[in-house]
């Protein structure tokens, strides 16, 4: 969010939001922080009241017990000293004083913080110093003690020690934020020279967001659980379709991106974050990767709750909540699939759902930059607790489906484009045919030539189905090939669908279409066949679900008794 957008959210502040008093004490102009903080606060449902001191008044306010600052009785105090001002002070010193600059400053900050602790109960958020290298000594600068960069780094180090020594002190790592965003984006010399504003306009919301994160975690609003998807999220590829030997993890190519993410997830687990899996997969297929893939870093005993099935993810997350007994707002959900993210966001708005970048290479940088798992404490989750959760999740009885999911599907405004096979769709049909293993009833595959033959054939007919919703177009996601095997009976030679769109009503929409078509040409029956493979377990019960009757290894749907299957997809 840029500054102007943040400012706009000020009008959303309401009386029923949690009130909080925050003081800003800075040695530079802090009006932008004031606005950004209130705006970002509103975004997180805080109604902030802010006391802002004049920038020359920090000491007066802290040293005098009767000051406006202490009268205000803030719950949080932001100490916003800036490197630019510090630098001016540093340059006035002689060489020997320069060498002991950090020690002197740390002592001074400590005295201010101690005084605040003595005179109030306010928690203190201290912005550490962004690094400025003046290159007075070129690259020798870091080796020489009397340089500014050397002294800044020492101060930042001392602040770490101070924060473990003083209970009420929390360091906001502005220096790391500058590293992430780059000084060219965080500092605008024109604003500093003209108005003593030490950060560029759009960096203030970033600082404010971090402040609110610290506030939230001291208030106990921290994240406790990371729920993640599997296919194309923690490994590359779709294990159900591609097979365990073809998914991408490890040291080669794009696999490394997924492995790096896995390492980060394990570090979170070591820190006490509970891990849970929600994935549209066969349980055995998914768990097999955790058990037997040599490059998997996360293992089954790292996961507290493992939900791999074909139910919607909202239900699955609900189950996780029951097992773990934690609130939705302490959960984070990561998934590469926008449909899944949006459904969770809209049905369980309390959960944090980061928008993942399209390119997996950027997953980790993106997630770390969000700093979702901010914490002001350090507690460990022991192995025993993970085991307890695992047992609990086996015991849990699956409750009713999330009723709202149906309404969500309606709101999606899904439309499907139905076409007879055409040369235009040929490449995608061939690709789908080669890649799909899970929703694939007979595993008959079609080459370009096969599809061309079907297009020109009088006996066979192929239909392709597209899917789109208000978030975008998924393109061609399913096809069916039919022919008349016995008189007036259509036989489904194969039906293939992308598993990403399973359980949205697409199967129902397609069978309704086939029934209608069959009826329109005067045929009496549709016959289907399911040839089991290792991978097509997800469609084991498909024909049964769609009202077919089992008869001598085949599945039969008489047209005159076929019921319309419920779905909310419109034909486009």
């Amino acid at each position: 969010m840029n500054f102007t957008e943040v400012k706009k959210s000020l009008i959303n502040i309401t009386e029923d939001m949690q009130k909080l008093k925050i003081s800003i004490l800075g040695d530079s102009s802090t009006q932008f922080l004031n606005i950004a903080l209130r705006g970002i606060g509103a975004k997180h449902s805080f109604n902030l009241e802010i006391f802002e001191s004049e920038f020359s008044q920090i000491e007066l306010n802290i040293l005098n017990d009767q000051s406006e600052y202490f009268k205000f009785k803030s719950e949080f105090t932001i100490l916003c000293f800036s490197s630019e001002i510090l630098q001016e002070e540093f340059y006035k010193l002689n060489d020997s004083d320069k060498e002991i600059f950090s020690a002197k400053k740390t002592e001074y900050y400590k005295s201010l913080i101690t005084k605040i602790n003595e005179s109030s109960g306010s928690k203190i958020i201290f912005l550490n110093f962004v690094e400025i290298n003046d290159f007075i000594f070129g690259h020798m600068t870091t080796r020489i003690k009397k340089t500014f960069i050397h002294q800044i780094r020492l101060i930042n180090n001392d602040l770490i020690d101070l924060s473990s020594e003083l209970e009420n002190l929390f360091i906001l790592d502005a220096s790391s934020l500058q590293n992430i965003h780059g000084r060219k984006n965080t500092y605008d010399p024109r604003l500093f020279i003209s108005s003593k504003v030490v950060f560029s306009l759009d960096f203030w919301p970033v600082i404010a967001e971090s402040i609110i994160k610290i506030v939230q975690s001291t208030l106990g609003y921290s994240k406790k659980c990371l729920i993640f998807d599997l296919d194309n999220t923690i490994w590359g590829g779709v294990v159900g379709d591609d097979g365990i030997e073809n998914i991408q993890i490890g040291n080669y190519g794009i696999g490394r991106a997924f492995s790096t993410l896995q390492r980060w997830i394990l570090e979170l687990k070591n820190r006490g974050i509970i891990l849970a899996v929600v994935s549209k997969n066969e349980l055995s297929t998914a768990q097999n990767v955790f058990r037997n893939h040599p490059d998997m870093l996360i293992r089954l005993n790292d996961i507290a709750v493992f939900q791999a099935n074909w139910d919607n993810k909202v239900d699955n997350i609900k189950r996780i909540k029951e097992v773990l007994n934690i609130s939705y707002d302490s959960m984070v959900f990561i998934d590469d699939n926008k449909f899944e993210r949006e459904s969770i966001k809209s049905l369980i708005p309390e959960i944090t759902v980061p928008e993942l970048p399209n390119d997996p290479t950027f997953y980790l940088d993106y997630l770390t930059e969000l700093n979702i798992f901010d914490s002001t404490t350090n507690t460990k989750l022991d192995g025993e607790r993970v085991l307890k959760y695992q047992q609990e999740s086996e015991r849990i009885i699956y409750k009713n489906q999330f009723n709202d999911f149906e309404q969500y599907l309606i709101d999606l405004k899904m439309t499907s484009k139905v076409n007879e096979f055409s040369t235009f769709d040929l490449p995608r049909i061939v690709q789908l045919s080669q890649r799909s293993n899970q929703f694939n009833l007979t595993t008959i595959r079609y080459s370009s030539k096969d599809v061309t033959d079907i297009i020109n054939s009088k006996e066979k007919i192929g239909f392709s189905f597209g899917l789109g919703d208000r978030f975008g177009d998924y393109g061609l996601i399913s096809y069916v090939v039919l022919y008349e095997r016995f008189k007036n009976e259509f036989f489904i030679e194969n039906w293939v669908m992308s598993c990403r769109v399973l359980k949205r009503g697409m199967e129902e929409f397609i069978i309704n279409y086939l029934v209608e078509y069959t009826k329109s040409i005067g045929f009496k029956k549709i016959i289907g066949e399911y040839i089991p493979t290792k991978k097509n377990i997800p469609v084991l019960d498909l024909f049964e679900r769609l009202g077919f009757i089992y008869d001598d290894n085949l599945w039969v749907l008489p047209i005159n008794t076929a019921k319309k299957q419920k779905n909310v997809i419109e034909r486009s």
Partner: protein, 79 residues
Amino acid sequence: MSLEEILKIVEVIFREVIEDSTLVIKYDTNSDAIDEWDSLINIELIIAIEKEFDITFDLSQFYKFKNVGQMCEWIKTQI
């Protein structure tokens, strides 16, 4: 882009930043005419205009223009 078109875009930016969707900006509008237009708002306006037109103001230009018209004319020379 014509001066007129630039003014229209600048007007949209003013409305966003000053948070007044009915604000009307003319060539002779200056900071006296708009109460909210203080030095901080001025920074916001300039940063927003820079982003919109992909141009850069020198600091000396932050307070140089006597009215919006002068600024628009300068923008025209930059794009």
